[in-house]
């Protein structure tokens, strides 16, 4: 007996515009996110080209600031977040034994808001006065100064927020209500767990960002004084509200990637995940802590001593559950029987690069030392190691892991490994020298720099071009696998375990029309 009502199977463009199918919507999310990745990637090349040497050569400082701002917004809200919502759409119903997402029409809505929001965001660059140039953190009073382009950005953020909240509600409802009989919460795949917690973070954090953005809009246009001392407000108030969203946002970006690592490492170690329960508790602790550490982004604003100390201690604590996760992954590998196909390479690379970012994060947590690191390239290096090193590595790991399942075809393993190694070399070449730049005193968000920073900036620029050009391999591999190639088996990987591998490759339209039994 199959699930009701899938009589209509529109083809062509209307299939994609009106779809209520989790796989189609997952594909839409992924395609959209990679288009945005190209847009954001080009912006990063503009930034790195300008920084190839001291002096102003390519762009005006004002445009440079727009590039850093929009690069960040596009990469975070346009690429990283939608890409993982896409993965959630594709995989969660298949992993928990459901026919589809819990709320399929809303699922389509949460996707289709994105292209419209992205249009607003990109349009801002073409407005008189240009796009937002105050950094992605849009701190007032600077962001009160800009022109109509800033309003485009603010409304785009509102729409992106609505999309994220709707998407998260759907994921929570799916995980809590659509699991196959017998699949208790503590039997769920880690990817579903990390997304459940991420979705909670999103629902708690995005509305707070909406509040901050709303206050900014009224300060800009309706005469309120939230962020103006003359009217009794405080610019730092915005930073508090923003980072109350902003810090959980970091975990929103990395937790699903952790989930991916926890799926892939056991598969290729041919050994069950070590410490499943402690993984769940560690993830939940990280999520909880993420709400009480926000002001570590603001050590230099002049907080009272009690605040500085509290946020230093709470931030340092995050190292404990994060450490537990890394130890668990290493223990999973210990005395396994490992092979190193492309997904495993990306997962291990991701654990490694994330750890670099994690340790620099611990250093940044130390308030007195942070007075030297704050707003330097050390911070830029740190968060790229976290967001590129964990999120993007996790994304590629997931795509290579599940691509044969999605398309029914094996991809070219040799090219996949090339993609991994070239990206890893390029990524480290780009961002590792930035640690030194920051320590030596180079501030972030500057279009021109003093002469002693030249050499490392050169390396960084070379690395950026290297990294981005290497991604062409990925597009080639992905398109090839979609079009054809050797047939994949249902299980695809020898050590793979989980409901998604019991379905055919590619899977049927409604994943589990009949719910599987989980022992």
């Amino acid at each position: 007996m199959s699930a009701d009502h899938h009589a209509e199977h529109p083809t062509g463009i209307s299939r994609w515009l009106f779809t209520t199918n989790h796989k189609d919507i997952g594909t839409l999310y992924l395609v959209f996110s990679f288009i945005m990745a190209i847009v954001g990637g080009v912006m990063s090349l503009v930034i790195r080209s300008e920084l190839w040497q001291p002096g102003l050569q390519l762009v005006e400082p004002n445009f440079f600031n727009q590039m850093t701002t929009v690069h960040a917004l596009v990469m975070i809200f346009g690429f990283a977040m939608p890409a993982f919502v896409g993965l959630a759409n594709w995989m969660i119903p298949m992993m928990i034994g459901a026919p589809d997402m819990a709320l399929p029409r809303m699922n389509n809505w949460s996707f289709w808001i994105l292209p419209f929001a992205a249009t607003l965001l990109i349009l801002s660059l073409f407005m008189p006065g240009g796009g937002p140039a105050g950094g992605w953190t849009i701190y007032p009073p600077l962001s009160v100064q800009g022109g109509i382009g800033v309003d485009f950005t603010l409304l785009a953020i509102h729409m992106l927020g609505i999309s994220s909240i709707l998407g998260s509600i759907n994921i929570i409802a799916t995980v809590l209500n659509m699991r196959a009989p017998g699949m208790t919460l503590m039997k769920m795949p880690m990817f579903a767990w990390t997304w459940l917690i991420t979705a909670f973070l999103l629902i708690a954090a995005m509305p707070v960002l909406a509040g901050a953005v709303t206050m900014l809009i009224t300060d800009r246009h309706f005469g309120t004084h939230f962020f103006d001392a003359a009217g009794g407000g405080d610019p730092v108030l915005f930073q508090h509200v923003f980072w109350f969203f902003g810090h959980p946002e970091v975990y929103i970006l990395v937790l699903p990637a952790f989930g991916v690592f926890s799926q892939i490492i056991p598969t290729f170690s041919r050994k069950p995940l070590f410490g499943y329960a402690s993984m769940v508790y560690a993830t939940a602790s990280i999520a909880f802590l993420s709400f009480i550490v926000w002001a570590h982004h603001m050590y230099t604003v002049g907080m009272p001593m009690a605040g500085e100390l509290f946020f230093m201690y709470s931030t340092m604590l995050i190292a404990v559950p994060t450490g537990v996760k890394i130890f668990n992954w290493v223990s999973t590998m210990w005395r396994g029987s490992m092979t190193f196909e492309t997904p495993m390479l990306w997962a291990l690379g991701g654990v490694f690069t994330f750890a670099v970012g994690g340790f620099s994060g611990l250093m940044l947590a130390i308030t007195p030392a942070d007075f030297q690191y704050q707003d330097t390239y050390f911070v830029v290096a740190h968060f790229h190691y976290v967001i590129f090193g964990a999120t993007i590595y996790g994304l590629f790991a997931a795509i290579y892991y599940w691509l044969p399942k999605w398309t029914g075809h094996l991809y070219n393993e040799t090219l996949g490994k090339w993609h991994f190694w070239l990206t890893t070399i390029g990524f480290n070449l780009t961002f590792f020298p930035q640690h030194f730049l920051g320590l030596a005193g180079m501030p972030r968000r500057i279009p021109d720099y003093a002469l002693q920073f030249t050499e490392f900036n050169r390396w960084s620029t070379i690395g950026a071009f290297f990294t981005i050009i290497s991604q062409l391999i990925f597009f080639y591999i992905a398109i090839r696998a979609m079009k054809g190639g050797a047939k994949a088996t249902d299980q695809v990987w020898e050590g793979a375990d989980g409901l998604e591998w019991t379905l055919s490759s590619p899977p049927p339209y409604h994943s589990f029309a009949v719910a599987p039994k989980v022992k």
Binding site: F274, G302, L309, A319, V330, T367, Q374
Partner: protein, 384 residues
């Protein structure tokens, strides 16, 4: 005694294990490649460097240990070597151990960090107070007790920035009027901003504090040696964020006293210059310089502005219209709503002579030919 030990703890650890500090000697090995903090010159900056070195070292050790295990496993436990997988997936003891040990390591980091933080926070018993105000895009320094006050702007010539001239050693890190502090004295800084948030950062002094409009933040420093220490604004503050450096001259106390006297003479001369009547050529010459330092950042060296953001002065209604309106715009600012940014008020930043010179320059250069000559007295009368 105990506190003293705790405070020295990071220093002891870092010296014991690192010899004389691997990271400090590294720059000498790599020539141009600066790998760590600039040389600290204050007690706090020293303390921060020691703390940084200690924590970096701990991080590196843990990193090597953990990933050493991982890489050993990658090497030894692979299928291609015929390794058969074990079955275990839990070990309660192990999990408690690797929760507790990191926690203890964190506590050992938190103690010296707290001590350093408390020391940085103590601005009491200072010998000198200096007020810093951030502007887009320059710094203003007030010495309230010495009655000295001046602006400090980027001194690097435009030609170097635009790659039309060779860049000199202190490219982008040089200013017209450096801030001067006496060596060995505890200087208390009060920092605020006039327009948007800036951040006053001099790495070698180990200080960074945000300048927030409408609020005052405090910090202190004490340079232990004479020298010139350079820094930059560290909070994105708009277009020329990268072009508002900080230069601190630490001099011995006698030279500081002399410097204060010199500043007072300069201020007296400046205020006298407002009383006399200037020739057009004098005004144009002074105006050209003042324009470059105060106005060119937005309106451009040639007066072309940036379309949509900053209005052009070339042929603008203000610069070619009634003189009084032009003076009022410069002194009190203007918000038309037509441009992204609004014209700030410059009354507090410009002397009568400077304003008169700038306005005369703008009306007779940058493509404008009104022929008007504005005297300082006319500016003074419109100050309200």
């Amino acid at each position: 005694m105990f506190i003293k030990l705790i405070r020295r703890f990071p220093g002891i650890v870092s010296r014991l294990i690192l010899g004389l500090g691997l990271w400090l000697s590294a720059p000498a090995v790599f020539a141009d490649y600066a790998l760590n903090f600039q040389k600290p010159v204050t007690p706090v900056a020293h303390r921060i460097l020691e703390l940084h070195n200690m924590i970096l070292l701990i991080c590196v050790i843990i990193f090597v240990l953990v990933f050493g295990v991982m890489f050993y496993s990658i090497f030894a436990h692979r299928k291609s070597r015929g390794y058969k997988p074990a079955k275990f997936h839990d070990n309660a003891t192990l999990e408690v151990v690797w929760t507790v040990i990191p926690f203890l390591i964190l506590v050992s980091m938190a103690i010296p960090s707290t001590a350093t933080l408390l020391e940085m926070d103590d601005t009491s018993k200072s010998d000198l107070t200096i007020k810093i105000t951030g502007y887009q895009w320059k710094w203003k320094y007030d010495y309230p007790d010495q009655d000295v006050s001046f602006f400090s702007t980027l001194a690097t010539p435009r030609d170097q920035i635009e790659n039309k001239a060779a860049k000199e050693q202190h490219y982008l890190l040089e200013v017209d009027n450096p801030i001067v502090i006496p060596v060995g004295k505890k200087v208390r800084f009060l920092v605020t901003a006039n327009d948007v948030i800036h951040s006053w950062w001099v790495p070698q002094l180990g200080v960074k504090k945000d300048a927030i409009p409408g609020f005052i933040n405090e910090f202190w420093t004490r340079a232990d040696e004479a020298g010139t220490f350079r820094g930059q604004c560290a909070e994105l503050c708009g277009k020329d964020h990268g072009f508002m450096p900080i230069v601190v001259n630490a001099v011995n106390p006698e030279d500081f006293t002399k410097w204060v006297a010199m500043q007072k003479d300069k201020a007296a001369a400046e205020s006298a210059s407002g009383a006399k009547t200037w020739s057009k050529d004098e005004l144009l010459e002074k105006g050209k310089k003042a324009y470059a330092g105060t106005c060119a950042a937005c309106h451009g060296v040639e007066g072309k502005g940036i379309p949509g953001v900053f209005p052009a002065l070339d042929g603008s209604q203000i610069a070619t219209g009634p003189v009084d309106e032009h003076i009022k715009t410069v002194l009190h600012g203007r918000a038309t709503g037509k441009f992204g940014a609004q014209m700030p008020a410059f009354a507090a930043q410009l002397s009568d002579a400077d304003a008169a010179a700038i306005i005369t320059f703008e009306r007779n250069a940058l493509g404008n030919k009104t022929g008007d000559v504005v005297q300082p007295s006319q500016v003074k009368s419109l100050r309200k």
